[in-house]
Amino acid sequence: MTRRLLTGNGAAAWGARLADVDYVPAFPITPQTEIIEQLGAWIDAGELPARMVTLESEHSMLTAAGAAAATGVRVFTATSSQGLLYAMEMLYTVAGWRAPFVLVNVSRALAAPVTLETDHNDVLAARDTGFLQLHCATCQEVLDSVLLAYRLAEHPRVRLPAIVNLDGFTLSFTREPVEIPEPAVVRRFLPGFDPQSVRFRASEPVSQAVAVLGGTPYSYFRYEMHRATEQAIAAFEEVAADFERATGRRHAALETHRMNDAEIAFVMLGSFATKAVDAVDRLRESGVRAGLVRPRLVRPWPAAALRESLAGVRGVAVVDQNLSMGKGGILHAELASTLYGVPDAPVLTSFIGGLGGRNIAPEEFFQMASVTREAAQTGQAPEPRLLFTAQELREVRRLQGIALAERHETTHSGAERSAP
């Protein structure tokens, strides 16, 4: 076992390498590209006995990934943002094939306006596709989650593809110490891929992913995907326990920090949650009984674990690094439905923060905590809030001054011309 500095992208590549993947359909996109470059380098150097092929789009990449998995090999692929959305048709499609593989998504905010930095609207757009979703907060978790995801996806009771999500920049390009398990240890945890009945071979004709006519068979097949995803809750327990035995590292479906006697809690996804860990510790020092709950599994949604860990909590600050226009934070809506009808459920406050990579400052966590405490006391949640400061608005105004200078002039002169 070695411990070394790896970026999130490097950790994802190591995960794929240790999983001994056979096939890597690829397409470049920032901030994911390093992953496929690293895998390509290992393949070219003969260190990874896999085949990589660069497709002409992510739509094709996902098609090839699903098709290869349906033929019976272990497949790894990766994308981000616009690429994930470009492949959206195939995400739904290949999930229905029940052929397991792992897709790493490096979260990046979506156009327009086009940007390179992170938020979670891309991966949450894939929420209902039938892919399992594991969200990471550290580079170590990225490597471990790739391995966990293969075991989970290939589990006989699950058999669905999985997305491992890491944040662009804050993980993808950020180096942290990562323990790389020994290949032999990984091999025991994750044996070679058994395609079971999903495969093509001359002696066993099979027609896969065929059409259906009518709502009855369709309902059956789609609901069975839901059932299989539900099975992934228990399967994850089993897989995580095996992983802990193999590596000593425990990854629960729901990551919690100081929740034992917490009065208020933050709920959020991804790497910014480590900032919340720090904020919680500082709040505790100042006498506020704060805690953090971070779903690692987003699909399946660990509803029971969430209800259990939030029992007795009086206020929950949901920090959404995404935005559903006209509704608000997606995580907030998910959690609200999870807690609806639970006796003595906490008051939920909603914060939209970190869009397009915007930072979340420590004082903002403290402020969210105090807003949430107050809401818990009054029983009244305030309107959802965008984390956005007066200073930021001044900055936008400055930019607008430049961007709109021309228009100001023309309207001005136009007004003059039309004056009598």
């Binding site: 699903g66 090999v73 065929v210």
Partner: protein
């Protein structure tokens, strides 16, 4: 390359591999070509299909195939073929699949996918020299959605989205030419009404490796508006009038496998189909008819100049 085993009609398979009971229309020219192709290709095949009429060949739990099938999506069947081909190669190379379990990977799509939405995926597959056989059944429109104009719709035809007096204003795209420009292993046009020509071409294609296209004109009673019984006659007219040249590309050369001299006026082909009726009544559209004939003549002037 070895000689053909299909020297005369009597050499063609007389019992058929493709099962009946499919949802294709009565008289479907695409199905006519497909079952003949399947007889030659055999059952060690996996068909990778894009959205179109033929998607309904396999509807749970019914399949007419003796071999395998995978439905993908409209845009990306060639990428599906890539995944299957690569995976089979990996399994064989790593000793996880005996070589005799290997399959020929066949992409099966309509013209809408082949000429349009899937062309980027096709282009990528050709770039990567993918070892696959692409079968396009060309019914010259988005048939499954009710025959709207596609990039393969011929000039002057009525479609569900071209109902004006002059019909479809565009000209059929030259998919054969697009493929040939990229120097793939093999490209051929076929039609179900020329079974011998078809069988020889499939036989050839099956022995080659690399990207190969079989472009099958698929007279479509539903979309072209003719009585199903006329399907064979219309197919024959397509060849006799020269509007659908039977040809193949191999080793850098294009060869025409059936050259009709003299050619029947293209009008006969058009007249037989409801989709061209507006060119004859209520008023004869000589301008459009001339434009269509001129294109056919110019084509043959180029390829068969002495006639």
């Amino acid at each position: 390359m070895s000689e053909t085993i299909y020297r005369r009609m009597s050499d063609l398979p007389s019992t058929h591999l493709l099962g009946g009971g499919t949802a294709m229309c009565a008289g479907c020219g695409g199905l006519q070509a497909l079952h003949q192709i399947y007889d030659v290709l055999g059952t060690k095949t996996v068909f990778v299909n894009a959205a179109g009429c033929m998607t309904l060949l396999s509807v749970y739990p019914f399949t007419p195939f003796r071999g395998s099938w995978l439905y993908t999506a409209m845009a990306s069947a060639p990428a599906g073929a890539q995944g299957v081909r690569d995976a089979l190669d990996i399994l064989c190379d790593k000793g996880r699949l005996p070589r005799d379990e290997d399959l020929q990977v066949v992409t099966l799509t309509g013209d809408g996918a082949a000429y349009g939405m899937g062309l980027s995926a096709t282009s990528g597959a050709i770039d990567r020299n993918l070892d696959f056989l692409y079968i396009c059944y060309d019914n010259e429109g988005y048939g499954n959605t009710g025959q709207q104009s596609s990039p393969a719709t011929p000039h002057g035809a009525h479609t569900a989205t071209a109902t004006g007096p002059a019909g479809h204003s565009g000209f059929k795209k030259d998919l054969f030419g697009i493929w040939v420009a990229n120097r793939p292993a093999y490209v051929a046009t076929v039609i179900g009404t020329e079974p011998l020509d078809l069988a020889r071409k499939i036989e050839k294609a099956a022995k080659l490796s690399g990207p190969r296209l079989i472009l099958a004109l698929a007279p479509c009673p539903t979309g072209w508006d003719f009585d199903p019984q006329q399907a064979a006659e219309i197919g024959r007219l397509a060849v006799r009038t020269g509007i659908f040249p039977l040809k193949e590309y191999l080793d850098g050369r294009v060869v025409h496998t059936k050259v009709k001299r003299p050619r029947t006026p293209v009008e006969e082909y058009l007249r037989a189909q409801g989709r061209f009726q507006h060119l004859f009544e209520p008023e004869r559209r000589q301008d459009v008819l001339d434009a269509i004939q001129a294109r056919v003549d110019a084509y043959w002037e180029h390829w068969d100049p002495s006639h």
